[in-house]
């Protein structure tokens, strides 16, 4: 619309705009690294963020028969379903408001204590305030119930309260809000702490010198300057609270909130249309706030806060205020410690509420029957972690350093996957990748093939031949029986290896091509490799080792048999890397046709992108959820690096690749490691996004906690939670150690970026 308007007013700007786009595209084309990064991040985000979200939103309007249908929206307005649905909606909003308010308040008190009140044990307070971010989503709800529930340690044992009908208990909105406050206040604490630290003391000193009293000063200077931070934290907590699934499922009692409604629509009724419709109701306030946060609050933040942390800090002088603030902080810290201690103790008690004597029987269960979930979760989380961190760095690099059309869209959508409630994403994943439309595979293949032909072919006719011949060959290959096909595909890569050896006489690229061939073929041998391990595990006595080794055979298969459509994308990139530099036109075309036929066949074999039930869809969901954090930490790191540092390297004779290796990478390495920490944590603790994706074969600990809880296995749930917390803490500790070893204080990791 806008372009039309301008081109009517004066034709030149519109025209030059188009010309500039074309010029820009040819420039991008000349820079294959940029081109590939764009393509890789673009495709990932399109396939795993935009497409599932679209499916999940549209799904609410499409009935089982495929007709347009608004039944589930109309229900909000009828007399039968209406009151209940509206009540749930209002309760959800109320929960969000209360959690946001109290979480922000607690966060502010913590920030004030740490920055201004010189609270004794500052570092410990800081780290304890962050612990809730690394625990599984319902750990706190669990321990809250263990302490204050109807058979709670404190309510029942300590005070001797026996629950009678009608008594207000921990279940319901009040308990939920308390739990959510403790779970989410860390975010608010980090935001407000950063703001308080960066507040220029000169401003408050100026106000004081102008005669403002301390209350007046706080009201007219400190508070208004903190407004962006407070507003930001409020909105963020509101969204987090709305999106939270774990805590409401545990502790909401007879109150229903939207996220739980969505969960029940899927798990209880298998009604995806209803779930989608409810998702839309939930996603609208979330998205509105996401947009407000992004385009309004953040913008104001930059204006009101200047630059680096100010050198000196104003300290709270009034001892009464100081000790009130510190006192509240200590109380909350004590409460947090109590909650976590309860989880750990809960995993050892014989029967909570009845018999508190310690026992190891729940742990025996957890490490035998539960070892599958623990190993699966850790394996998938760990495998997805480097992908998420590296993809995050790539996107951050594109966003900070490069200029291209659609940059804002990339930035926005990379954040979207983490911003929307996980349940919505999960539903989208199921709907998108259960029976994915062929059109998706065709579009992705078309983009990849055009890119491949563009880079490998030097002249127009070469490109056309590679494109047409490669595609036809690939489609024909899918006609073969799958087992034979993989042998043919692998064989083609072996031929490529030989051709490359003849034409280039370089060992390494040919060897890589050969290995790719073997890898593609080995799809057929996956069972042969994994089977002996599985058989061996069965021969063992049933228990931890037997289960663990059996899982190992499964994990091996995941590595050997990736989703074909994803392997195809990887092979296109690998092909470009390998074949780009072949000089002779004939060889290049032959290799190009073969190199395109393989991914083409892989793109269309079976039902492309039908990933539900597999391991890769869970990893994709993990990555989508953790991407925003690693993008943010990358962006923060890159923004701190003066672009002229890269230019300096450049003009001293280093090309882009050398510069990246010797200058950029060492400088962003701390951020990359931080990205790894955040991603791993996020993966291990995510529930809402993957709850619909777990299968009999791929169990996830958070989902197991939920099912144990539903079956009354409170102590096993507590044991699982402990495992997650311990694993995450170990990962953080190891990576932190690594960072400190590698950088010895130089380029410290800003842990706050990821949350």
């Amino acid at each position: 619309m806008q372009t039309r308007a301008t081109s009517q007013d004066s034709p030149t700007p519109g025209q030059s705009g188009i010309l500039r786009r074309i010029r820009e595209f040819t420039l991008i084309g000349r820079d294959p690294v940029l081109f590939m990064s764009l393509l890789l991040s673009g495709i990932f985000i399109f396939v795993f963020v935009v497409f599932p979200l679209y499916k999940s939103i549209v799904g609410g309007f499409v009935s089982k028969e495929g007709a347009f249908d608004v039944t589930y929206f109309a229900r909000y307005f009828d007399d039968y379903y209406g009151p209940g649905l509206r009540k749930a909606f209002l309760d959800t909003m109320l929960m969000g408001l209360l959690t946001a308010t109290s979480g922000t308040l607690v966060g502010f008190i913590f920030a004030y204590a740490v920055v201004r009140c010189n609270i004794p044990g500052k570092r410990i307070v800081h780290w304890l305030a962050l612990v809730p971010t690394v625990s599984p989503p319902f750990a706190l709800a669990l321990s809250m119930i263990l302490l204050f529930g109807r058979n709670g340690l404190i309510t029942n044992r300590l005070f001797g309260i026996t629950w009678v009908k009608g008594m207000n208990d921990v279940y319901g909105l009040d308990g939920l809000v308390i739990v959510q406050t403790i779970t989410f206040f860390s975010v608010s604490y980090l935001m407000l702490r950063a703001m308080l630290e960066r507040l220029n003391p000169a401003m408050e000193e100026a106000a004081a010198s102008l005669g403002a009293g301390r209350f007046h000063l706080f009201r007219t200077i400190t508070l208004p300057l903190l407004i962006p931070g407070i507003a930001g934290s409020f909105l963020l907590l509101f969204v987090e609270s709305l999106a939270d699934l774990g805590n409401p499922l545990f502790i909401a009692g007879n109150k229903t909130v939207l996220s739980a409604q969505i969960f029940l629509a899927v798990i209880g009724e298998y009604n995806y249309q209803k779930a989608s419709a409810l998702s839309l109701v939930l996603i609208i306030p979330t998205l509105v706030i996401f947009l407000v946060q992004r385009y309004y609050v953040n913008r104001r933040t930059y204006i009101s806060v200047t630059g680096k942390p100010a050198g000196s800090q104003i300290m709270e002088k009034d001892p009464v205020i100081r000790w009130i603030v510190n006192g509240i902080t200590y109380l909350i810290i004590a409460f947090i410690l109590l909650l976590y201690a309860t989880i750990i103790y809960g995993s050892f008690s014989t029967a909570w509420g009845v018999d508190f004597t310690p026992t190891l029987k729940h742990w025996t269960m957890t490490v035998t029957r539960g070892v599958e979930a623990i190993l699966d979760t850790t394996f998938l989380s760990a495998l997805a972690t480097p992908v998420a961190a590296i993809l995050g760095m790539i996107i951050a690099w594109l966003v900070v350093r490069k200029k291209f059309t659609g940059k804002d869209a990339l930035d926005f959508s990379s954040n979207l996957g983490g911003a929307v409630p996980g349940t919505i994403l999960g539903i989208g994943f199921v709907m998108a990748f259960n029976k994915p439309p062929l059109a998706l595979a065709i579009v992705i293949y078309a983009i990849m093939a055009l890119f491949f032909a563009q880079v490998i072919g030097r002249k127009a006719h070469e490109r056309v031949i590679i494109l047409v011949a490669g595609t036809i060959a690939g489609v024909l290959l899918t006609r073969l029986e799958p087992r034979a096909m993989y042998f043919y595909l692998g064989g083609m890569y072996l031929v490529i290896a030989v051709l490359m050896m003849i034409s280039q006489r370089k060992v390494v690229p040919s060897l890589v091509a050969g290995l790719i061939g073997v890898y593609v073929m080995s799809t057929n041998w996956a069972n042969a490799i994994a089977k002996p391990i599985a058989t061996y595990s069965r021969s063992l006595e049933r228990g931890f080792w037997s289960n663990a080794i059996y899982q190992f055979s499964d994990h091996l298969k995941v590595l050997i048999q990736p989703t074909d459509a994803l392997l195809a994308i990887v092979l296109v990139f690998a092909g470009v890397f390998l074949m780009q530099s072949i000089k002779k036109s004939g060889f290049r075309m032959a290799v190009g046709v073969l190199g395109l036929a393989v991914p083409c066949a892989l793109s269309f074999v079976g039902v492309p992108f039908a990933m539900v039930g597999g391991a890769y869809i869970i990893m994709a969901a993990f990555i989508v959820r953790s991407l925003p954090a690693s993008v943010r930490s990358g962006v923060a790191a890159l923004q701190q690096i003066d672009p002229s540092i890269e230019e300096a390297s450049n003009i001293l004779g280093a090309d882009a690749q050398y510069t990246f290796r010797k200058v950029t990478l060492p400088l962003i390495l701390p951020a990359l490691l931080a990205g790894l920490i955040f991603s791993f944590t996020r993966h291990m603790t995510s529930l809402s996004a993957i709850i619909f994706l777990v299968s009999a074969k791929w169990r996830i600990v958070t989902a197991s906690i939920l099912s144990e809880w539903e079956q009354g296995g409170v102590s096993i749930a507590a044991a699982y939670s402990t495992v997650i917390i311990v694993f995450v803490l170990i990962a953080i500790f190891v990576l932190n150690l690594l960072v400190n070893r590698l950088f010895k204080g130089r380029g410290s990791v800003d842990m706050s970026q990821g949350f």
């Binding site: 301008t6 002229s644 230019e647 300096a648 450049n650 003009i651 001293l652 004779g653 050398y658």
Partner: protein, 362 residues
Amino acid sequence: MYLTLNNITKIFPARGGVGEVTAVHNVDLEIKKGELVTLLGPSGCGKTTTLRMIAGFEFPTTGEIILDGQKINSLPPHKRDMSMVFQSYAIFPHLTVFENIAYGLNVQRLSKSEISGRVNRVLDLVHLEGYGGRAPTQLSGGQQQRVALARALVMEPKVLLMDEPLSNLDAKLREEMRTEIRRIQKEMNITSVYVTHDQIEAMTLSDRIVVMNLGIIEQIGTPVEMYRFPNSRFVANFIGRANFVPGVVKEQRDGRLTAKALGEVITLKDVKRQFNQEEEVTLVVRPEMVRVKKSGELYKGTIRRAVFLGDVIEYDVEVSGQLLTGLETDPHVMTLFPEGEEVTVGFAEGCIQALPAEKKHE
């Protein structure tokens, strides 16, 4: 010529995406080997863009850049054999001083012994002997500046580019580094392009100054030429200070020009520009060309402001309704004229230059 910019224009898309901005417009510049040329101008005048095009960080939209007889328009920076000192120094924070300076030599894969020899030599040159093992964070601003300079010098580049290298230093240090840079540049006979907005820096450092404004070159010349014979009001005002006095040409013969200004006729020498009879002109009268005496000078005036600056006394005198700034440099004059005092004002007529009268469209 060693480095030639031929009719260079650079157009950027405007911020917000609509329209275009011409940052540099039809710039022609020739630089001799071993010469230090300063690009001087206010911010946004295109001087940094010009420098970045020479470096290869930006490519000109039209025009060509020729180095040593070779067209280098689309050559990327790392193939240009130039080096640059950045305003922010851009010292690699993860490398030591030695590693910073050796960076470019390492790229060239020189032998270890040659690298350490060259690095140590250049460390001596910038007076940082023994600082090689330090981390950049352990250095003061001035020392970081020297490291940045050393890192550029050690490459023995065809052209040394400097982008406001002294703007982050305090006044005293800046003065010191100015002479230092000039000394090293002459010693090594390095062709240099220096960008600054500080006219004193430009005057002290340069063989020639290029004054730029709004993307075009206003004037090129030696410091003396720029000061004595400014081509425009902009240059006259940017390099030094000036009173602009309107006048009308009466006669011009053998470089002498008589003109009527402020109601009196004065005679100027060495006027190169040709004017017509009765043409309106603007006279560039530097404050030091304005004498303020109790009596005996051509014009009558009233003191409006008098300031004692130590080495000079500065007056604002009103003459025929125009305020003129004048300086008293005679150390024997001990007292200031009070404000409101009636005085006489004279010009050092031989030093005054005339410019065509500019239309007041600003």
